[in-house]
Every structure is written in structure tokens, then in C-alpha cells.
Symmetry: C2
Subunit: 204 residues, 2 copies
């Protein structure tokens, strides 16, 4: 028998507001429970397309949008995270997701947190290639090489495959934690529960 | 100066699944913070109509519905609350809401909790007049008199007015806590934050 640590997959979308505080908190929460994490970026577009949505629900339903931004303000204030909503919202997250997929392990996590902080903490346009290159450099990655890798067909296909998995899992939004026994925990409010579930799995 | 306790309005909809665990927990959470509660039943129909929804989003978007029911199972298990989804879902909550509006104070809270427990804990059809009468009797109310009061025009109008207030506040769903300074906390996951906000208001 392998002595494996408990594990969760952390599914996130760079355009997703609530994924920002989740990404900033997940590592400490997981470490406190000795749970390992795989960072799994995906795109909500294909999920939302199935709902008939061609825009963020926070734009389609302004009542929800107004609530979400106020809620985000309170959350970020309470976590001492900066919040500066990007324009336009949602941001086009395709290139950032491709770069994240092209990275592995710690580099992917570091890049992802850097993207969230820039996008929602500083209002940076994350579809901008130069901005993303600067983030790569800042985390110590080779920006040119990573961008070239990110845009290879095989890497684009890997992101597509991840989106297909997200859909087949039935992820209703982002962020989500998915445990090895298939439990889905949706939202930044379910991080603790998802990690607790992973570290103390119950019989099915 | 009056020595007023901090206060929240607890807005809920009898057809709303997440309002069930919220209703079962709100009193103890509020008491622990010396916060007073007004129970304010309303109907989500007019809110959802503005979204273009003529059914529960959990039916319109099956991915969300599947997630919600699994989430509810975990939540109810963790709170030791029974869960038996009613058929059909959502239930028609109009008569229950009218009855709740016709009641005051402790009676309204007791009736509301009884409705939730019957509807989601036992799968009882809450549009059924006889079932609601039995719940009224069980909480020590005069069932016939309360039903008669509930169906008077003036009481129906009070419910309509409450729904109009809910819309004008911008409630995005149910349950919600609303503090005297106008903060909205949506969802059973925001009870503690909303109560904490009410008991320690910050400068605007």
C-alpha cells in the first residue's frame, strides 16, 4: 500500500470572481489538513453555453451582479485582499488558462495566484500577452518559452480536454473542489468542507 | 436613546431549499450574538420573473439542480436534519407564505420552521390546506381563524407588499439577511457574517 495523503482537485476559472479569494486561501487551508492539491484551470464558457448563457450570469442578471460585487468587496476586505474589478468583466481568460496548463506544480499555482491578484486586485487586463509575460517573469518562469508552449496545438488540446472533464463531472461553476470519491464542493464557501471531506472520507 | 439590540431581517421563501437549514439555524446563531430577527417570508416568483425564469433555476439548469440536492444532503447530514425532497419541486408556497404573514412574532417563526421541516424533512406537500392546518394546530395556533385571516384581501396585499420590498432591496435569491444599514447577505452560508455585521456595524 502506498501511504498517500488525502487529495483534492481545485478547479478554477481565471474570469471567475469568487475563484480569486479561493485561490488565495486554498493552499493554507489544505496544508493545515495535510491535503494535497492539483490546480486545474478550466473555462466556464462551455459549461455556461449549455445553460444558454453567452455572458457571465453576473451581467445577464444585474441583481446578481450588484450583489456579487458587494459580496466580493466584503470578502476581500475581510481577507485583506485588494479588489479592483477589471474592465471589461468578465475578462477573456483563454490565454491565461493555456499558460497555466502549460505550467506544472508549483509554477502553475504561483502563476495562477499572480493572475488573480493582477486581474482582481489591480484591474489588469489578463487577455494581454505582455501583462501575462510579465507575470511569468515575476514568478521566475521563462516567459517566451512558456508562451510558445502555451500556444502549441497539443497544449490547446489539453485545455480542451480539461474543459470536457469539467463538464462531464457536472461542475456547476467555479471554483470547485473535487475529491477522489467524486464529491463536488462548489464555491469559495465550500473550501473547508471539501478539504475536510477529503481528509476524512466517509463510506459511499 | 433607546438601548436597541442589533437586528437583522431574515428573508425566506418556503419553496427555497437552502432556506430550510437557514431557518433551522438562524435563531441559535442570532441569540449567540444578541441579535434580534424579523422573519420575513416572501415569494421568489416575482424576482425570478425578472430573470426570465418561470421555474426554479435548479430545474432550468439540471447541472445546478443535481449539485444542489447533493449539497443539501451533505448539509442536512452535517446538521442532523432530515431531508426528503418534496414532489413536485419546487412546491407552490403561496398559501404557506400568506399564513406566515398572517402570524406574528414567535408564532410566525414556529410555523415557518414547521413548514420547512414538513416540506423538506418529510416531503409533505405544502400547498395542501389540510397539511398547513395541521401544522398550525401543532404549533398551538387556531388553524381555522388563521387560515381565514391569511386569505383576506388585506393579508394578501401585505404579502404582495413584502415581495415588492424584496425586489426593491435587490434580493438575488433566498434566504437573505438584511441589516439595518442595508447590507444583504445571501445564502445559508452568510448567516454568521450577516449576524456579525449586524452586531458590529462598520462605518459606511
Amino acid at each position: 500500500m502506498y501511504d498517500e495523503k488525502p487529495h483534492v482537485d481545485f478547479w478554477y476559472e481565471f474570469a471567475s470572481t469568487y475563484s480569486y479569494p479561493a485561490a488565495m486561501r486554498i493552499e493554507a487551508l489544505a496544508a493545515a489538513r495535510s491535503v494535497t492539491i492539483d490546480w486545474r484551470p478550466f473555462l466556464l464558457g462551455p459549461v455556461f453555453a449549455d445553460f444558454g448563457w453567452r455572458d457571465s450570469p453576473f451581467n445577464i442578471y444585474p441583481v446578481k451582479g450588484r450583489y456579487m460585487w458587494r459580496d466580493m468587496r466584503r470578502i476581500c476586505d475581510s481577507l485583506d485582499l485588494p479588489l479592483q474589478p477589471p474592465q471589461p468583466f468578465p475578462q477573456n481568460s483563454l490565454l491565461a488558462a493555456r499558460i497555466a496548463i502549460a505550467l506544472r506544480g508549483e509554477a502553475r499555482a504561483a502563476f495562477s495566484k499572480a493572475v488573480y491578484r493582477a486581474e482582481f486586485g489591480e484591474g489588469v487586463t489578463i487577455s494581454d500577452r505582455t501583462a501575462l509575460a510579465a507575470l511569468l517573469t515575476a514568478i521566475g518562469a521563462d516567459a517566451d518559452a512558456t508562451l510558445a508552449l502555451a500556444e502549441q496545438g497539443v497544449n490547446k488540446d489539453r485545455l480542451k480536454a480539461e474543459c470536457a472533464i469539467a463538464k462531464s463531472l457536472g461542475l456547476p461553476g467555479a471554483p470547485c473542489l473535487v475529491t477522489p470519491d467524486g464529491e463536488i464542493f462548489w464555491g469559495k464557501d465550500r473550501l473547508e468542507q471539501g478539504l475536510d471531506w477529503a481528509s476524512a472520507p466517509r463510506p459511499a
